[in-house]
């Protein structure tokens, strides 16, 4: 049901024209469309606990929506909203956590800011410093590549302090916070740069201390959610390519009738369906982690697998899509190029596919054995 309503709504309201228009805005986000989604469809409450006005669902439902949003390149901050909800579910209960859940449920945009200019996409990347625990903390430093940062009312800031990595809740209009919009190669998804200069944070706004493990888990959750967008993006690129080659006539027949073209399309579908199978597994694993029936290692493995597969898949499928479009594939007019750009951006976000494979290799070859690799579903 979620799937059908998402398809219907996005088909009507997130057309190519809407996406291209949003790309012209400084923030890159269509806030009017986001208001309709939050008010009419309520997707933002999916992963919010029931006690905080949410549906208490998890990654399985989020990936269904994110696949559809990825397929339309929809210019709304749903990924940021969903990720914030998942991150908040990994931190200890506190009044600030409840307040943020309720704000998210009301449609507020909350963005995750955690890394600097040379990201390692792990705790090493955290360069914002925090001093002054356990009293009022002072944050200084910079976080880059913040998705939906330009429209966020609230920031989740990872910072380094004496006790390791900590997570803070910071209003984006707090004194000392400056948010700069950065245009991107992927024109349909903008990023922001957050600078914190002497930002003072009340003790109640420290969501987690000693948060290195939580950061690892959060990044794995982010990889799984991001993979859903990649699978959706790849599926749509495949569909629009098959439609195009079915109309384009050369040598007196549609180019879809040539095996050289058909076999490329078959390889595209092979990759999309393979990535989708892994995605569904990874989403189930993320939910199992939330329920305490999967450990960090299982989540890390699932995230690395799906990030590698979905990243390679989206890049291959959108790139091959351009190739099969021929000359028009490299024009601004045709949408396939927008999907290619999104695929490139998502492939690099949170670590390239080869970095994911190296993380897996460490688990398989360097550490203790992964137990029951086949049977552990």
């Amino acid at each position: 049901m979620l799937l059908e309503s998402a398809e219907r709504f996005l088909g009507e309201h997130s057309s190519s024209q809407v996406v291209r228009a949003a790309a012209e805005l400084p923030s890159g986000v269509d806030l009017a469309l986001w208001s309709r989604v939050t008010e009419e469809l309520g997707w933002q409450v999916v992963a919010i606990p029931e006690a905080c006005d949410g549906l208490g669902l998890g990654a399985v439902e989020l990936v269904i929506l994110l696949e559809k949003l990825g397929a339309r390149l929809s210019p709304i901050p749903f990924f940021a909203s969903a990720l914030a909800a998942m991150i908040l579910r990994t931190v200890p209960t506190s009044p600030e956590q409840t307040r943020l859940f309720e704000a998210l449920a009301g449609g507020a945009v909350v963005a995750f800011a955690h890394t600097d200019a040379r990201p390692d996409w792990n705790e090493v990347g955290v360069k914002v410093s925090s001093a002054g625990a356990p009293h009022i903390a002072e944050l200084n430093g910079e976080a880059r590549y913040v998705i939906a940062g330009g429209v966020a009312e609230q920031l989740l800031v990872a910072a380094r302090g004496e006790g390791g990595v900590r997570l803070f809740s910071v209003p984006s209009d707090a004194p000392g916070v400056s948010v700069r919009h950065r245009p991107t190669v992927d024109q349909t998804r903008s990023l922001a740069e957050v600078t914190l200069t002497g930002v003072l944070v009340e003790p109640g706004c420290e969501l987690a201390a000693d948060w290195e493990r939580g950061l690892g888990v959060s990044l794995d959750m982010a990889r799984i959610l991001s993979a859903a967008e990649q699978v959706g993006c790849a599926q749509e690129a495949l569909d629009m390519t098959v439609a195009y080659v079915g109309e384009r006539v050369q040598f007196g027949r549609t180019i879809a009738s040539f095996q050289a073209v058909k076999h490329k399309a078959a390889d595209m579908m092979l990759k999309v369906e393979s990535a989708r199978s892994l995605l569904y597994y990874a989403a189930c694993t993320a939910d199992a982690w939330l329920q305490g029936s999967a450990d960090d290692q299982a989540l890390r493995e699932a995230a690395a697998m799906v990030a590698s597969a979905a990243g390679d898949t989206a890049f291959f499928v959108t790139g091959t899509g351009i190739q099969l479009h021929g000359g028009v594939g490299i024009t601004e007019e045709y949408d396939i190029q927008l999907y290619f750009k999104r695929a490139r951006a998502l492939e690099a976000y949170l670590g390239r596919p080869d970095e994911s494979r190296e993380r897996l290799a460490q688990m398989l070859l360097d550490g203790p054995e992964l137990e029951g690799t086949v049977h552990a579903a």
Partner: protein, 397 residues
């Protein structure tokens, strides 16, 4: 997507596992893990004895209806059986053509007389079957069958003339089912009929085909007047294509998890070797090992998606990619195994050409992307059936 089986199915799993533990030992200990692809010619007598032991325990033909000695097992139970069988190191099944092809074909299209004559011996592990579809001129273009079946009015038998090829284990089997042309005025899938033919007779010769591994699992089968009785025609005369293809659409991946269990054993061996010989420290090999791990897990979740899908007999998208996915994965594993072995990969175990397990894997997996529909045919099927792209026009030659 369901990642777990029901408690009742898990109970069934325990029953299978404990029976196998109790029986796959003693005289059968030597055939554990033997007789799989690339090794099918080994321990044939012992594996036939094992088939009879399986049959006595009620573990052959479990998917058949109870009326014919099966358990009426659900798809899930059949998957579990195959998985546990592989996990226990169960030897390559000599009875699988009879159990999974002849039996279901007869159950769907056979006469009462055919069922009574053939099903009990298959179920009992007493009669072994091989498959007579491919011919030298009918590979990917399977319907281009030239083998003829002629009606001999005097002897009242069908007589066969022609050649089948790639017939696995024909030399160890009792019967072959043959797709032959009964109307030579027809071409393609018209004018074909489906017959059940005994192998031990005049006018039928089996010649082994030596493969690149130096072993011979496949055969050529030559027909020069060999015969079968009119009662051994399955379905109507001229209805052979429908009979032969009838069950393919209902394949829901019963054997996939069992197959993946064998793949995991191979991958584990490659990983163990890489850790031992230091290959695991080479960045390029680390990437490929991780990729192999991801690929195998992808096959698993792809299968679980297939099993969670609608049981309406239609092929889902994930089912349509499965052959292409597993065959490429397995072939790549064979190459990875050689690369992890390093320079040692080039030295055979003993003269003249005794290969070790990984060398054999490397060479034999080149067949995976060819048999059962080549990669090229698989891509055509995906493009035409799943993506709705046009069919290639047929040549007239």
């Amino acid at each position: 997507m369901q990642l777990e089986f029901s408690p009742a199915d898990e109970q069934f799993r325990n029953e299978v596992a404990s029976w196998l533990r109790d029986h796959l030992c003693g005289e059968f200990a030597a055939i554990r893990g033997r007789g799989g692809p690339g090794d099918e010619h080994h321990f044939v007598d012992e594996r036939k004895a094992w088939e009879r032991t399986l049959a006595e325990g009620g573990w052959t033909c479990i998917g058949w209806p109870e009326q014919w000695g099966g358990r009426g097992a659900t798809i899930e139970q059949q998957v579990i059986f195959n998985e546990e069988y592989a996990r226990a190191g169960g030897p390559g099944r000599l009875g699988h053509i009879g159990e999974t092809l002849t039996g279901p074909t007869l159950l769907a299209f056979g006469s009462e007389q055919q069922k009574q004559r053939y099903l009990p011996d298959i179920r009992a592990g007493q009669a072994f079957w091989c498959q007579g579809y491919s011919e030298p001129g009918a590979g990917s273009d399977l319907s281009n069958i030239k083998t003829r079946a002629e009606w001999d009015e005097q002897e009242r038998v069908w007589r066969f003339y022609g050649q089948k090829v790639w017939t696995s284990l024909a030399h160890e089997s009792d019967f072959i089912f043959v797709l032959a042309r009964t109307d030579v005025s027809q071409r393609g899938h018209r004018g074909l009929s489906f017959f059940l033919v005994p192998l031990a007779q005049e006018g039928l010769e089996i010649r082994p085909i030596t493969q690149l591994t130096g072993t011979a699992e496949f055969n050529e089968v030559f027909f020069d007047g060999a015969c079968c009785s009119p009662e051994d025609l399955v379905g109507e005369e001229g209805d052979g294509w429908r009979v032969a293809m009838g069950l393919l659409g209902f394949e829901r991946g019963v054997s996939t998890l069992g197959q993946q269990m064998l793949f995991q054993v191979e991958l584990d061996e490659v990983i163990r070797l890489a850790k031992e010989n230091g290959a695991s420290r080479q960045p390029a090999l680390r990437q490929r090992i991780a990729e192999a791990h991801i690929g195998l897990r992808t096959l698993r979740y792809n299968s679980l998606r297939m099993l969670s899908g609608e049981d309406d007999g239609s092929l889902s998208r994930e089912a349509m990619i499965y052959k292409l996915a597993w065959s490429n994965w397995h072939r790549n594993l064979g190459k990875l195994a050689m690369d992890v072995l390093g320079p040692e990969a080039e030295l055979v175990e003993s003269a003249p050409y005794e290969l070790n397990r990984l060398q054999s894997l490397f060479l034999f997996t080149r067949a995976d992307t060819i048999y059962g529909g080549t990669n090229q045919i698989q891509r055509n099927l995906i493009a035409e059936r799943a993506l709705g792209m046009p069919r290639e026009p047929r040549g007239d030659a």
